[in-house]
């Protein structure tokens, strides 16, 4: 059962459809108790980092933290991945989960922003989430802010300079691109997560 967290930040339909195509059962919820008991938690999200404040307000931040500490597998997509970090300059004062040290920042002005389209993802070291995903692979990005390369970075993309395309820390995973829109490579990533 893949539990998709609804915090009113964009389009859940595509992510749900991708997991269902892979044969997974899915549930969409905004109930912290459901999230607390989940084994696979997915946090999608497009738009603004400020939208993650809703997670704190709805009790979902605590629920996710608890689920993760009980061994649940967590996947953050796009803003969902950014939220795994400490914070973002896009929304000063809004706290991320703080699972990974670092601040999400806007692309520098010399790059055309937003970063939209297919770009190359290169694997870094061994990771469970990128198991059997060819390196390099093409994945689909659409964002203006990005996370720096850190210890937990297992996939790197270059746009102006390298940034975190994929992060992995214990049972928590984050992807900056949209795996549900990234063709075969994206589906493989979702499949890897579902099989944990």
């Amino acid at each position: 059962m893949i539990t998709l967290v609804d915090y009113r930040a964009g389009n859940l339909a595509s992510v749900r459809k991708a997991f269902e195509h892979l044969g997974c059962e899915t549930a969409i919820t905004e109930d912290p108790d459901v999230v607390r008991r989940a084994r696979h938690v997915v946090l999608p999200g497009v738009g603004h980092f400020a939208a993650t404040e809703q997670l704190t307000k709805a009790g979902l931040r605590d629920a996710v933290a608890e689920a993760v500490s009980q061994g649940a597998n967590f996947l953050g997509i796009c803003v969902g991945m950014q939220w795994m970090f400490r914070d973002s300059t896009e929304a000063p004062g809004v706290d991320g989960l703080g699972l990974i040290e670092g601040t999400v920042e806007r692309f520098p002005p010399d790059a055309k922003v937003p970063h939209v389209g297919w770009n190359t993802l290169e694997s870094r070291g061994q990771s469970r989430i990128l198991h059997n995903v060819p390196s390099p692979s093409f994945v689909y990005y659409t964002h203006s802010y990005r996370a720096p390369v850190v210890t937990e970075t297992v996939g790197v993309t270059e746009y102006g300079m390298p940034f975190s395309g994929v992060v992995e820390k214990a049972n928590c995973f984050g992807v900056q691109f949209h795996p549900e829109k990234s063709g075969p490579a994206g589906l493989k990533i979702l499949e890897n997560f579902a099989k944990l």
Binding site: G10, N11, A13, S14, K17, A18, H21, V46, G47, K112, V113, P114, H115, V116, G117, W118, N119, T120, F138, Y140, T142, H143, E158, Y159, H178, E180, K181, S182, G183, P184, G186, L187
Partner: protein
């Protein structure tokens, strides 16, 4: 490296893909869900589905076609044609598409751009601009193109370049620029107009209208400075294989997502 995108477009009428020349004389080209899946498998970076009857005939629900098509598609999927409001947009997003494109509705009231962008994000709003060159007097080298709406039938008096700036400021995430002069002719994209628009905005520009050969794509990326190029009949009737096209573009040094 960020690649240039090749987008396959399906013009749909009553749930069937159709093709015509310069917006008239339509003929059947197949089932949208099948064609979309085929193009994606063959390397299309994105699929655009346009309901072309939308703005001048009573429109049957597009939602069912979107649902069927989205089901097996895992590349970005954009839907447009007769989307007038936030409600219309929501309906097709719920059916599974990733972006919407609007044209006439935005010209009628540019606030609809902002409303949809606010709810779904700018990245989900593609502004379609249908432009026709204006004839200029001898000695006047200024490029002028007029924006048309309602399936290319109604001139608006708006300048295409000014309009592009306006929609960007309202929250559009991308511009899909169709040259009405070149559409369906297979005589090449309007690279000059594309370049003028690309130089005016910082959001991506998708070139549309006129694709007929590999060379046309090379030109629209090199001289037109397009971020993406869209084509329809050349792909549906198998005139150009998307894979071959991408391989050749790659050989020409244009960054491509290939092989997929």
């Amino acid at each position: 490296m960020l690649t240039k995108r090749i987008i396959a477009c399906l013009d749909c009428h009553a749930g069937r893909v159709v093709k015509g020349v310069q917006f008239v004389n339509l003929c059947d080209a197949g089932d949208p869900a099948e064609l979309a899946r085929m193009h994606a498998e063959n390397g299309a970076d994105e699929i655009v589905l346009l309901d072309i009857t939308a703005t001048h005939e009573a429109r049957k629900t597009l939602v069912d076609t979107v649902l069927r098509t989205a089901r097996e598609l895992f590349v970005p999927f954009t839907v447009g044609g007769g989307i007038r409001s936030l409600d219309d947009a929501s309906a097709v997003f719920d059916a599974g598409c990733d972006k919407i494109t609007i044209n006439s509705a935005a010209v009628a009231n540019s606030q609809v751009i902002t409303a949809i962008a606010k709810r779904f994000g700018s990245q989900a709003v593609v502004l379609a601009i249908d432009a026709k060159r204006k004839s200029v007097e001898a000695g006047n080298s200024k490029l002028e193109a007029e924006v048309y709406v309602s399936g290319g039938r109604k001139p608006t008096g708006l300048d295409a370049i000014e309009w592009a700036k306006e929609v960007e400021s309202r929250g559009a995430g991308e511009i899909m620029l169709t040259s009405m002069d070149r559409d369906g002719t297979r005589a090449g994209f309007d690279c000059e107009l594309t370049s003028a628009i690309a130089g005016t905005v910082s959001i991506p520009v998708i070139a549309s209208g006129g694709a007929g050969s590999v060379q046309h794509f090379v030109e629209v990326f090199r001289e037109g400075h397009a971020d993406a190029a869209l084509a329809a009949s050349v792909f549906h009737f198998g005139i150009e294989s998307i894979g071959e096209l991408k391989q050749q573009l790659q050989n020409e040094g244009i960054p491509m997502r290939w092989p997929i």
